[in-house]
């Protein structure tokens, strides 16, 4: 007889068993993912204060682990907002605990990343993590903790408080983990480079296990406006959300309910909508039947006159900063950037920003270099599955005089309160038609500008070449004809050369 046993597992246990889906697949991927998750937390922490991030990352060798992996100590320091002391244990010791579950554009979304890194370190080295943090107040706190996997709770092994005379603010996370740095090295360095590209106001320092120092220095003090929290957009609501809002709302009629709980719905729009959907403005939302709620949801999606989500709740890089970032890291000869108007998919606002860079230090590879970003995070894995790559591959580039053998780098950035990732590993963007269309339109715009540049350059080149030909051959004609005619003096060709030049201008 087979016995089936039922048991419940904790969230920590679940992710411990399924660490693949969070990107901790093997020693090389894991060390990359750990660096990445901590750096992103630090970027979020600094940006939420509108402070240019200053992040220091160090990986040091601790000992051999297996045939293909070693033990490393990872330390990440930032100048971010810091974590209030009472939240430190849970923020770093409890899976699915975080401060970023709001409708707000941030890198972190799941309340998982930092913990997965710590959890992975714990199961491969059985050592606690050390977190030091201060919000800039008079004290700084140090916690040594491990994660109780079965109960999904932090286990505090040590706690120290020290006086923070210098008013230091920020967070330091340090722990050991198993990894294969030399396999992961190209991706890690690429990660820093691309992060510097879309965060040109950040200072990133990385010291690798060999003691090599990589520095990515900020080139601007300008920063995008920090994202604001926002209300849900009517196109994005589902029945579940409507029910939750109805439960908590203090408003007694539909007009006020719509005006106060939805993004970009004012008095006029609310009235128009209610008329459109044949709902009385004075109806009490709490009196809506389940059927009426379902209908309300459908009508919200059908009404064409809601304004698109306001860009204010999103924090795109901005054309100027994107240009600066691309110029700084890729050193191209030409760059065109373009920010699309905000758009929505399933009611979530998003903005696509694209850049195309040509020539300079960009290598010729026989295909474009593609840089993908989401909420200012570089995406480095699973490129082939990404929506941008699909759009790029299906575009008719020849229309723009562009061929794959040209030195071209394409960058696509999506920012959204909810990036449509396919997995919690946050590696590639799903194939949403709305996103696809925006990416395509953005790419067409920059491709047109690249084409204009190429055409102009071709023209200048052609003229320069033309001039070169005349100034190469005319003197020879003068020389040989003079000799042939038996003349001592060569004819004066300066005037002719000048006339060619004038023509060229």
């Amino acid at each position: 007889m087979v016995q089936t046993t039922f048991e419940e597992i904790s969230a920590a246990d679940f992710f411990y068993r399924n660490r693949d889906i969070a990107g901790f697949t093997n020693p090389s991927r894991a060390i990359f993912a750990a660096v990445r998750e901590l750096v992103e937390n630090s970027l979020d922490a600094a940006e939420s204060l509108k402070m240019p991030p200053d992040i220091y990352v160090r990986l040091s060798f601790e000992g051999e682990a297996g045939k293909e992996s070693q033990i490393y100590r990872l330390r990440v320091e930032d100048n971010g907002i810091g974590v209030p002391p009472r939240h430190i244990p849970s923020a770093f010791g409890q899976v699915l605990f975080g401060s970023k579950y709001k409708l707000k554009q941030q890198r972190g979304t799941f309340g998982l990343g930092g913990k997965m890194a710590i959890l992975y370190g714990q199961i491969t080295t059985h050592q606690p993590a050390c977190i030091i943090s201060s919000t800039g107040a008079s004290k700084a706190y140090m916690y040594k903790l491990m994660i109780d996997i079965q109960r999904n709770r932090p286990l505090i092994l040590d706690r120290k408080v020290r006086i923070n005379k210098e008013q230091w603010r920020g967070t330091i996370v340090e722990f050991c983990l198993e990894g294969d740095y030399f396999r992961a090295m190209p991706k890690i360095l690429e990660y820093f480079k691309q992060t510097a590209m879309v965060n040109p106001y950040a200072n990133l320092t990385f010291v690798d296990p060999k003691g090599r120092l990589y520095k990515f220095t900020s080139v601007t003090k300008e920063m995008p406006d920090p994202p604001k929290e926002t209300l849900p957009h009517p196109y994005g609501v589902d029945v579940e959300l409507l029910q939750r809002l109805i439960q908590v709302t203090p408003y007694k009629n539909m007009l006020e309910f719509l005006r106060h709980h939805f993004h970009r719905v004012g008095e006029i729009t609310a009235r128009k909508f209610l008329e459109f959907s044949n709902i009385s403005p004075s109806k009490n939302p709490k009196k809506l039947s389940h059927g009426e709620i379902v209908r309300l949801m459908r009508m919200l999606k059908r009404f064409r006159e809601f304004l698109p989500p306001d860009a204010g709740c999103l924090s795109p890089v901005g054309e100027e900063l994107l240009r600066v970032g691309i110029l700084k890291e890729l050193k191209p000869e030409f760059v065109a950037v373009h920010q699309r108007k905000p758009s929505t998919y399933a009611g979530h606002p998003f903005i696509i920003e694209v850049g195309i860079a040509y020539g300079g230090e960009i290598p010729k590879k026989g295909s474009f270099l593609i840089y993908r970003f989401a909420n200012r995070i570089p995406l480095l894995y699973d490129e082939a599955s990404d929506v941008s790559v699909k759009v790029i591959n299906s575009m008719n580039w020849r229309r723009y005089k562009v061929t794959p053998d040209m030195p071209i780098a394409v960058s696509v950035h999506i920012c959204s309160t909810k990036v449509p990732y396919k997995t919690v590993g946050k590696e590639f963007i799903a194939d949403r038609p709305e996103v696809k269309r925006e990416v395509a339109n953005g790419l067409r715009e920059v491709a047109r500008r690249l084409q204009r540049f190429l055409t102009r350059r071709e023209h200048v080149d052609r003229e320069r070449k033309r001039l070169g030909i005349f100034s190469k051959y005319l003197p020879k004609i003068a020389q040989f004809s003079a000799q042939l005619a038996g003349k001592e003096k060569q004819p004066d060709i300066k005037k002719l050369l000048r006339s060619v030049e004038k023509f060229a201008a």
Partner: protein
């Protein structure tokens, strides 16, 4: 006793060419000096401007002309190359040095006047020929391939260091190479009363061994396949200056037939030039009818042979009844024969029997 019995064309021609080149230089110089982009006009060599002239009995260029201007970005390079080639030819001709087509190609590099390839430099030389109306041999540029001559003709060299020296063309049993020194020489005296041109080296040597030059009082010329221009010009001189009739013997196939025709009526490629053709020369064999009459061992005609025959049938140079008849016969018997085929009747048969008969027949 005056040494030169024959009217010479050599000195005259050299002078003409030198002045032609100098005038070209002056024309270009003056245009430049007046602040114009220089340009040159010449007859067009495109196929639609090539006509067969029954009067002159050779291909000639029509009235269409082309203009090469240094103003034009696509012309300026070939224009410069043309001026350089004129300058270089003038150097050669005035210093009485010769150069091969290949030499020209390489010499250009010394003047930073590179040609893309040999073909490009050859084309420019042809342009210069067209502009001046004289052939490249006149400005001392020769192709690599050489043919040979043997027979009782005494020539006098005009090239430096040999000037005034004479040579009898029987002095070497392999024959004498028809090179620049020979083609620029004057004719002094001859006892020959005809010229026999032969396509193949083997038969040329046989004829010398068999004393054909003595038995038939002939100057023997080896064309070595399609005759080089220098040879064609030389044969024409033999015909014009010495009044010697010319008989041509080739293989019995469309290609051999055409070797004879080019010597007689010139080629479309050289339509811009005169004085290469010998319109009075005769094709004496091997004819298609010879193949039949002499029961020669044969090979079947290939597809390309047949195709070529149909082309020649429509060619204006072939409109004479004799040529038309032979083309028809080739097409009828669908066979071809080489000159060596006569060896089936013994090594001397061709000299003893065939040659006298054909010389008589085509007189």
């Amino acid at each position: 006793m005056p040494r030169r019995r024959y009217k010479s064309s050599i000195i005259e021609r050299r002078k003409e060419v030198l002045t032609g080149l100098e005038n070209l230089g002056v024309r270009i110089y003056e245009q430049l000096d007046r602040g114009y982009f220089p340009s040159i006009e010449m007859p067009s060599r495109s196929t639609e401007n090539i006509y067969y002239d029954p009067q002159v009995r050779q291909f000639i260029l029509g009235d269409k002309r082309v203009r090469r201007s240094a103003r034009n970005i696509r012309h300026i390079r070939p224009f410069t190359q043309l001026v350089w080639t004129a300058f270089f030819s003038h150097e050669l001709a005035s210093q009485r040095k010769t150069s091969t087509l290949r030499d020209v190609y390489y010499s250009a590099q010394a003047y930073e006047m590179s040609f893309k390839d040999q073909q490009e430099s050859n084309n420019i030389i042809t342009d210069l020929e067209t502009v001046l109306g004289s052939s490249r041999e006149d400005f001392n540029i020769f192709p690599e391939e050489r043919s040979a001559i043997f027979g009782d003709l005494t020539i006098e060299y005009t090239v430096p260091d040999y000037e005034g020296r004479t040579l009898n063309l029987t002095s070497h049993p392999d024959g004498v190479m028809i090179g620049p020194a020979l083609t620029s020489s004057e004719f002094v005296k001859t006892t020959a009363d005809k010229v026999i041109a032969i396509e193949k080296g083997g038969l040329f040597t046989r004829f010398i061994e068999e004393n054909v030059h003595k038995k038939f009082n002939a100057i023997l010329v080896l064309t070595a396949g399609q005759a080089p221009r220098a040879t064609r010009h030389f044969v024409r001189r033999l015909n014009r200056e010495l009044n010697l009739p010319v008989y041509i013997f080739t293989d019995g196939d469309p290609w051999g037939m055409h070797i004879a025709m080019v010597m007689i009526s010139g080629s479309a490629n050289a339509a811009h030039l005169r004085e290469l053709a010998t319109p009075d020369a005769k094709w004496s064999g091997v004819w298609a009818t010879d193949i039949v009459n002499y029961k020669l061992p044969t090979d079947p005609l290939d597809e390309v042979d047949v195709k070529r025959l149909y082309e020649l049938q429509k060619d204006p140079r072939y409109k004479d009844p004799l040529w038309q008849r032979e083309i028809k016969m080739f097409l009828k018997i669908r066979r071809k024969a080489e000159q060596e085929a006569f060896s089936r009747y013994g090594l001397t048969y061709i000299v003893d029997k065939y040659l006298p008969a054909k010389l008589e027949e085509t007189k």
